[in-house]
Subunit: 215 residues, 2 copies
């Protein structure tokens, strides 16, 4: 009897996963939707993007980039979540970004400047990702000049977010940063542990716990 229940729940989980899994074309539709917010994409460009990239599934807690490597891939998260972190002097992980579905993931310093990375990228959940190598991306920029419009605007968009985060670290106390986070991204609390959130906010887990207890 227990065997049957076990088998049933196993099948049910797989069924759920199949239900949640997007087809290849649905996945690319999401990428194109994200890109076309900035500038329309020709069918030819869409086809070239599909040709040059690949869709892959990655389990949770898998490294997409390690310190010392050169980041030569850009990821679009179709489903799932990832985080970017570095190791401080004592070897503790410090998160700098959390990224979710419909967002692009790179290590900025490493990818844009072709330098060895000082940061790590790791999935936080099972992910479906569209992966494009740096060289393939550059080929697309060369072949489709108007793709540079999208590239420019996407870069501007992530730049703004980066600035906002940097300014938040400069301008606000730990408590204000936490309140800002739950006001602007409340879903993050459902998907990310408090320890990870604390390091993202630039504070210790203990300090975050104390901030939360006095609210």
């Amino acid at each position: 009897m227990i065997g049957f229940v076990g088998l049933f729940s196993y099948l049910a989980v797989n069924y759920l996963e199949i239900m949640l899994k997007l087809s290849v074309s649905e996945s690319y539709e999401r990428l194109f939707a994200a890109f076309s917010q900035f500038h329309p994409l020709s069918q030819e460009l869409r086809d070239a993007i599909v040709d040059h990239s690949k869709l892959m599934n990655v389990a949770k807690k898998q490294l997409l980039l390690s310190e010392g490597e050169k980041s030569d891939k850009i990821y679009f998260i179709v489903t799932g979540a990832a985080r970017i972190y570095y190791l401080n002097e004592e070897g503790r992980e410090k998160n700098t970004w959390f990224l979710f579905e419909n967002e692009l993931v790179i290590s900025v310093h490493s990818f844009f400047a072709s330098q060895a990375s000082f940061e790590y990228i790791k999935t936080m959940e099972d992910c479906s990702l569209i992966v494009l190598s740096r060289s393939r991306l550059e080929q697309l920029y060369e072949k489709f000049v108007s793709f540079n419009i999208i590239g420019r605007k996407l870069t501007e968009y992530y730049y703004i977010r980066n600035e906002a985060q940097a300014n938040s670290l400069r301008m606000h106390s730990a408590k204000e940063r936490y309140l800002q986070l739950i006001a602007l991204q409340p879903q993050i609390l459902q998907r990310v542990s408090l320890g990870h959130i604390a390091s993202y906010l630039g504070i210790s887990a203990e300090t975050l716990s104390r901030i939360r207890s006095q609210l």
Copy 2:
């Protein structure tokens, strides 16, 4: 006798200023040199940039942007220096960037996102600036699609710098940030007061003074 000395030194200063002042074409050559590091510029594009922009001289301590305004101009510093700052809750100026010759100046949040600015831009020295409005810049992007390549790469370049600064604030102590600054930009100490540098490093002037005294 004192009158003559005074007159002489007055003339000498003016002579120096004239010597240092660049002609219009020399000024634009500097802009083009900065841009062509990323991608060659056609003569047609160069002409259009000259047509769409203007060269202006601004005295030191003049505001280029105030809080609440929409930043709709991008500045290229031909000569001089500027700083970006915001006012904290107590109304104190906090510097976020120092910018010098051959660098572009915008308020990222305001310019890219067309939002009212929370920051100020002020010259720190007499400046010679090339000014381009946002709408003119967009016209250039539309008319010269390949200009988007330059725009994209420039945005990537400043994005990297912004990330590096944000990471420096996150990863290093006040003392480390100061040592990094004098290692990487020693000239900054000659041109910017310690009070301004302290707020740029995210510390009080007193803390910077103590860091310096114990070196």
